[in-house]
Amino acid sequence: MLLIRCPYCGERPEVEFHCGGEAHIARPDTPAEMTDADWASFLYYRTNPKGLHAERWVHNHGCGRWFNALRDTVTDAFVQTYEMGAPRPDAGNASSTATKAA
């Protein structure tokens, strides 16, 4: 089973979590002043990378808190998890908290 490290609860089984899509997407301050194309870009367009991807996850069958995770979309390995509001970490020095599929 894949273990995910919740920043509050530690390593917990994958079935307790739910993914909430890409992280670090700020809602525009003044949507009324945006063009339709820019608004559509904010709403629907995501990076969909091959490799490291910052995602929002919620530990809904646990502490109930949202957090961000850096996941490799190729290997499905969670490289790092971090609290909401924290900047995206540099993946290069994140290996010490790596969580691997067990």
Partner: protein, 189 residues
Amino acid sequence: MLEVNLARRTPAIRPAAVASAGPIRIAPETGEGRLSFRAKAKALGGREDVAGFAVDGAINSRKSDGDTASLRLGPDEWLFICPEGDIDDAMSAIERAMDGAAHSLVDVSHRDVTFTVSGQNADAVINAGCPLDLSLDRFPVGTASRTVFGKSDIVLARVGHHDFRVTTWRSFAPYVHGLLLDAAKDYAG
């Protein structure tokens, strides 16, 4: 005088106390009152307890004191347990202790049903539906956490080496009870 509690309480659903055939005891707890308490660290101001309920425990820990207990389920969420008859007094005491600081306090006594699961192999019975590692070094006595059991959301607390409490919503209770009894058949006789 103003009647404080206008809601008429009907008895919580209490499934029949079916004892499993084997050495594992699975029985609904009766007479247990539960309070859902939420407050940010700023509102708590570093205090160790609120009206006798500990709020200084680690996340996913259970602290008990006599017939009351405090389960910390998240950074700002606790489940307080006390005898059902003491609920109104406890709520008043907590309101006074918080003294206007932002918090949420809800009586969830009748929302939940708690089962005792105790006896040798009680951990294996719970692991029939729960993916957590329940070995003593990963889930020691005094641990409590929300998790899953089969298809149901539960709050699992370990009060002794072979003694667990499984708390679930009352509409899930027949399912959880049935799955526990079914899992316990492996250890019958």
